[in-house]
């Protein structure tokens, strides 16, 4: 289905950190790398007040928004209860050490 586009190497992203992918005319994408070397991607916008999730602290499989400390699950994009909201997920995969995004 998708058209996987190579973005970077796994090592370009700090462990427990994120990188930002800029898109012309679209919201930025945040690609996260967790401590267990999995990658996740979502629109770089907290469902609360639009904070840049890429700048948050990554722990386990979640990220804490730097603006008001909402916790967003990286797998689902869902805010942790009792907060409610969802950050848009972007399909991402690791091909060996290459990080790829599927974009329309």
């Amino acid at each position: 289905m998708s058209n996987w586009k190579t973005i970077c190497q796994l090592n370009d992203i700090p462990v427990q950190g994120a990188r930002v992918v800029k898109r012309e005319g679209h919201t930025d994408i945040a690609i996260f790398r967790t401590a267990d070397d999995q990658v996740f991607a979502m629109v770089d916008k907290c469902p609360h007040k639009g904070g840049p999730l890429s700048q948050g602290i990554v722990s386990g499989h979640s990220v804490t928004c730097p603006l008001h400390n909402w916790n967003i699950a990286l797998e689902t994009g869902l805010a942790q209860a009792p907060d409610e909201g969802c950050a848009g997920r972007i399909p991402v995969q690791l091909d060996g050490n290459t990080v790829q995004l599927a974009l329309d």
Binding site: R19, G60, H68
Partner: protein, 810 residues
Amino acid sequence: MKKLKLVMVGNGMAGVRTLEELFKLTPDTYDITVFGAEPHPNYNRIMLSPVLTGEQTLPEIILNDLDWYAEHGITLHLSRAVTEIDRVRRVVRAADGTEAAYDRLLLATGSSPFMLPVPGKDLPGVVSFRDVADVEAMIAAAANHKHAVVIGGGLLGLEAANGLLARGMDVTVVHLAPWLLERQMDETAARLLQQSLEAKGLKFLLQKQTAELVAGESGRVGAVRFKDGDEVPAELVVMAVGIRPNYSLAEQSGIYCNRGVVVNDFMQTFDPRVYAVGECVSHRGVSYGLVAPLFDQAKVAANHLAQFGIAHYVPAATSTKLKVTGIDVFSAGDFMGGDGFEAITLSDPVGGIYKKLIIKDDRLVGACLYGDTTDGGWYFRLIREGHGIHEMREQLMLGEGTTGDTGHAGQNRAMSMPDDAEVCGCNGVCKGSIVKAIQEKGLFTVDDIKKHTKAGSSCGSCVGLVEQILINTVGGAADVKPKSEKAVCGCSDMTHGQLRQAIRDKHLVTLADTFRELAWRSPDGCASCRPAINYYLISTWPGEAHDDPQSRFINERVHANIQKDGTYSVIPRMWGGVTNPAELRRIADVADKYAIPMVKVTGGQRIDLLGVKKEDLPAVWKELDMPSGHAYGKSIRTVKTCVGSEFCRFGTQNSTQMGIDLEKDLFGMWSPAKVKLAVSGCPRNCAEAGIKDIGVIGVDSGWELYIGGNGGIKTEVAEFFCKVKTHDEVLEYSGAFLQLYREEAFYLERTVHYLQRVGMEYIKQRVLADEVGRNELYARLKFALSFEQDPWAERYEKGVAQHEFEALAL
């Protein structure tokens, strides 16, 4: 793996709280079976009073509905009282023959009301005030009968009487002692209370001993007869003379009991497979009837059931509150006093106010308030935190509002506030929503309130008020702990103090080691504990522990301050607030070149460039060619100065140079929270040194040092620390104090809170009296700072953490 079987006998607040704590720690270890003698799921027993008055209904006070039990896979046997424990086969059996086998057994059988052993005590119409069935019986009696007698003038008895009065009955309270609430109050206060209750319509018979309950014509109770022969009519008699732990089940099964199920500090009975929590327990000879200590027990039992085994139960002070609308009684801690205690009393019989504070060894240990309980929460906090009170002794009785805390939303208004009054100004939360959340969601802690309502979750200035609302809503059930007793976060049960100590004792130098050695529940911590641990590591083991940028908040990771739109602010360092034309030209050029939308002068005598794009940061820093101002960190921020003797006609000392030298001396210092200094050249104090972490004021004969000031959320005036003669002494004494703070304060604890926690005497002892210790502290600070460089230059010159500033392209 096969799950272990956990059986809980009793379905009340302490037991179910244990299960909730257990699920937080390990949701899948046990198959759980619960036996409850009542037909209801776990409800909030404290709220039976408002149900009786009609202010609330039973569904509103349910804490865990049946769905909750189902969601957690709990087998629930309601209306089934357990009658037998077979400890050999490890099976419990209920009255109807239902059996359940266990690997671990949790006894939470609660307590029973004590029924006076008088003739007629088993007549229809004689009830206690303990559970839903009692309340239902009382409501039914109120609908059909006129006269009620409540035996017992304690908190529970008065609440029962008030409820029956609200239901339209003619209520007489019978009490053996010479005055009401004799355990909480002295005679003067109790008379005031009695008068207000009489004004509401209650009748009282004091010093009356009940001899017999006399049956009426219908066979139902009809009157109460006393020892002196008097009689009062009563179609309903409520016994509220005390409770007794329910331990007969445990005793029959051979578990050691002594006026309660005897447990150790881990809530374990003499049979190590059997735990007990709640009112049925006797811990070190004491049984508890208030909710807060029972919740603490629940935490400990859950910790052990989860096989962590690191928690132990330490009793803490408790508070109670009379829940009678319009009449305010609050008591906390050891309010009885006696030998070895001092008491401060305020009595205003005409105004209807009475307050008694009990003090021992310079600490507030108990409080009893009548009529005006607005400071109850504050006194309770002082009791729990156990700080010395000599410095506020004169204001103590007058309340927190008089202790000089201008500039923050007063915390003493909780009771008088209307529901639509705003409590949390950051998140726009009003009192009504907080009270509603507390009642509907069954909240008992400020943290829960923060999560559910957002109140107090941003700047934190309203937390005291939120705490008061909590105490006013749920009374003694409020779980209010000082930070020193709270767990760092949900990843562990350790407090900040224990964590700091363990990092030192076990010589931990990495986050991974810390998580492993200290049995962290999450693999790599969370956004709360990671920054704290990172700070503890680098401050305890400078040069050995390496800073982990991924465990720092974004501002400290990229050395700029994130703004609401995701841009950053840049504040270059201007030593002592002094700049020059060349720097100003560079700032102007950078602002033009990078189209920086706002240039602003800060409160700390610096220039702030706001709205800088993240990718522009390294270039902006390079072209400014000034060191980082650290205006974004838990670190040394600024040293504010006045003009001083060089130009000022009043100046006695060169405060500007002193400030510059202090700032250079402390450059790059990370600390538990931000640190701000100021130096004034004379007592006119133009640099506002009185509200800084360290304030230095020049006088003719030297320098005065003040510590623990704060100009933020809650204005705190710095306390006088010492007077020194020379410039070098200012550096050494300031540095030594700051190093002590760096080594001992909890993460995010400002100097004022650290000072309040450990006391000025202690700091004087360590920094002033102990000369060797002071030299060592200062040397350790210098050693730690020897590893610090300008973080901006590291980034634009050496390319450190370049990935932070470069976006990826598609």
